[in-house]
């Protein structure tokens, strides 16, 4: 009799699912091991549902045609992610302007198989003007003015989590990022990168803790969210993040500043595997990012 199929892939196999022109979504903390592999594949024309500096990485690497983002902040003291800001101001990317409630409504609509969901947040703002996909309409029950948000359908959602069993039953420690489950429910396929693969019995010991059932692919990448945090595993690497932001800001200001190109080369293009990346970061540095 045949056996139950495992859902384990390595990071390169999972990244190979991403093709030019796809819509991909990134959870929070960003699944950086997968982001680096996607950059390494030199995929183009992606529509990216993401926020902050992970989005900035993909824009800096030239992978992005369109962003669906509620927030592209740049970290401490940098109000706007530098590569996002430069690309948007130069018209190199299309910005599908939205906000958290509009984004989650569109994702919920996709998950529920509905063409749209109504939302109130954004009524009276410029959002429906700058994003013509958002339609102001009159509700059929009470006659109120609401925004109809069309279903947002990612091809692949990439999220980071603490553990999974081999069958894709994922459990977060300390809760998933706030948007992660919306992304998973809306996406055609889900790839979860995890700190650790655990036994099926460990999952069944507390099934209510399972946050994602039967993810399409599980990728085992310890420290996979670096330089961001992973709850219960490590805190974010602030100097590393600041270095990236400084590089990206310099590149945005001066055009062809080599610092950002070097960063992408050294940390995204050259390391073949996630382990190669970790070797470049160094174990001493990684172990310094304590877990509490």
């Amino acid at each position: 009799m045949s056996e139950r199929r495992e859902h384990l892939l390595d990071e390169q196999q999972a990244a190979a699912w991403v093709e030019h022109g796809m819509t991909i979504a990134l959870g929070e903390p960003a699944p950086m091991a997968m982001v680096r592999q996607i950059i390494r594949r030199k995929v183009r024309d992606l529509t990216v549902i993401s926020s902050g500096l992970a989005l900035d990485h993909l824009i800096a690497a030239g992978c992005v045609r369109k962003t669906i983002s509620y927030y592209a902040g740049g970290g401490v003291g940098v109000p706007v992610a530098p590569s996002f800001r430069r690309a948007a101001e130069r018209g190199e990317i299309v910005v599908w302007e939205c906000e958290e409630g509009i984004l989650t409504s569109g994702l919920e609509a996709a998950g529920k198989g509905l063409p749209f969901l109504p939302w109130r947040g954004g009524v009276g703002t410029s959002l429906p003007e700058v994003n013509p996909d958002l339609k102001v309409f009159t509700d059929p029950i009470a006659g109120e003015t609401l925004i109809a948000v069309p279903a947002i359908k990612p091809d692949i959602a990439f999220v980071h989590a603490a553990v999974s069993d081999a069958y894709g039953n994922v459990q977060h420690h300390g809760g998933p990022g706030w948007i992660d489950l919306f992304l998973v429910r809306a996406a055609a396929r889900t790839v979860v990168q995890v700190e650790q693969v655990v036994s099926n019995e460990a999952i069944r010991g507390n099934p209510w803790a399972t946050t994602i059932a039967a993810a399409d692919a599980v990728v085992r990448v310890p420290w996979g969210a670096h330089p961001f945090f992973s709850r219960g595993h490590y805190i974010q690497d602030v100097p590393f993040i600041n270095d990236y932001v400084a590089s990206a800001a310099a590149a945005a200001k001066h055009g062809g500043d080599p610092q950002l190109k070097n960063y992408l080369q050294h940390y995204c293009h050259e390391p073949v595997t996630h382990a190669d990346y970790l070797e470049r970061v160094g174990l001493t540095r990684l172990l310094g990012l304590r877990e509490y």
Binding site: V80, F84, G101, G121, G122, G175, P176, W178, V238
Partner: protein
């Protein structure tokens, strides 16, 4: 003794006094003054306040010392969480957000308290300055019981006659019914607190109005640094300075590292 306080401590104290016990407090990103104001109120008079941060909901009234994280996205701040406010569905209980108070900044704030996080320029497709995006502020500002606009700088580049783009509706184009006409259930912006002063909104016109001046600030100074005509009452009081007790809690329990004591 009470003479020794910074303007940021003043701002935190003003905001803290407006917060009522039992309210839920949520602060936007990169707003240390509001973050610390919330903690000050919680410890001073809010044993039933709940702080919403990073999806976590916490009550830390019983803690001796509750530091602000050194980094805005430092997940360690959730260590005191009792629940996640958004177990995968952040906006599922918006109907109860009347008890929630929010704090918001902006790259532009206009005379009716509308704010802008989208960008600056005439044409959305050719922005002179691309902003970070609206985060959750359109939804939050539509539903919370009230909110405060908190600015790190008071100048006419931020405080403008009309926002180039509106990401949160304050009082629209004015009038007491500006929000109810849009069907927005939340109470709208109450104050705009800056390093120079506290402003509120005229009950009828909903235009921004000077409410109190921080120590050493003049009416002219405020108006000169504001990009629209501010309503100025005949007598403008001084902002009540932080009390000894407030400064004590602030400095020993909320802000021992002196985040607000620097300039």
């Amino acid at each position: 003794m009470t003479g020794e306080y910074t303007v940021r401590e003043q701002m935190a104290a003003v905001l803290a006094r407006d917060l009522q016990d039992g309210e839920l407090l949520q602060v936007g990103v990169a707003m240390p003054v509001a973050e610390l104001a919330v903690r000050l109120a919680h410890l001073m008079h809010g044993p039933n306040m709940e702080l919403i941060f990073f999806g976590g909901r916490m009550n830390v009234h019983h803690l001796e010392y509750y530091p602000i994280p050194e980094y805005g996205w430092d997940n360690r701040v959730v260590r005191w969480t009792e629940s996640y406010s958004d177990r995968g569905h952040r906006f599922d209980q918006l109907k109860d957000w009347g008890r929630r108070v929010f704090f918001i900044g902006g790259i532009q704030v206009d005379q009716f308290g509308n704010t802008n996080l989208i960008g600056i320029g005439e044409d959305f497709n050719k922005l002179r300055f691309r902003g970070p995006g609206s985060v959750g502020t359109p939804t939050l500002s539509s539903h919370v019981g009230r909110y405060h606009i908190v600015l790190n700088d008071h100048n006419s580049r931020v405080l403008v006659e009309q926002c180039d783009f509106v990401s949160t509706v304050g009082w629209g184009r004015g009038g007491a019914d500006a929000r109810s006409r849009l069907g927005l259930p939340g109470g709208g912006p109450k104050w705009c607190v800056t390093p120079l002063c506290v402003m509120d909104f005229c009950e009828q016109s909903k235009r921004m109005r000077l409410r109190s001046l921080h120590r050493g600030i003049t009416v002219d100074e405020v108006q000169d640094n504001t990009g629209f005509e501010l309503l100025i009452p005949d007598a403008v009081p001084s902002t009540d300075p932080p009390s000894v007790a407030e400064l004590d809690v602030l400095r020993t329990r909320v802000d021992p590292d002196g985040l607000l004591r620097g300039t």
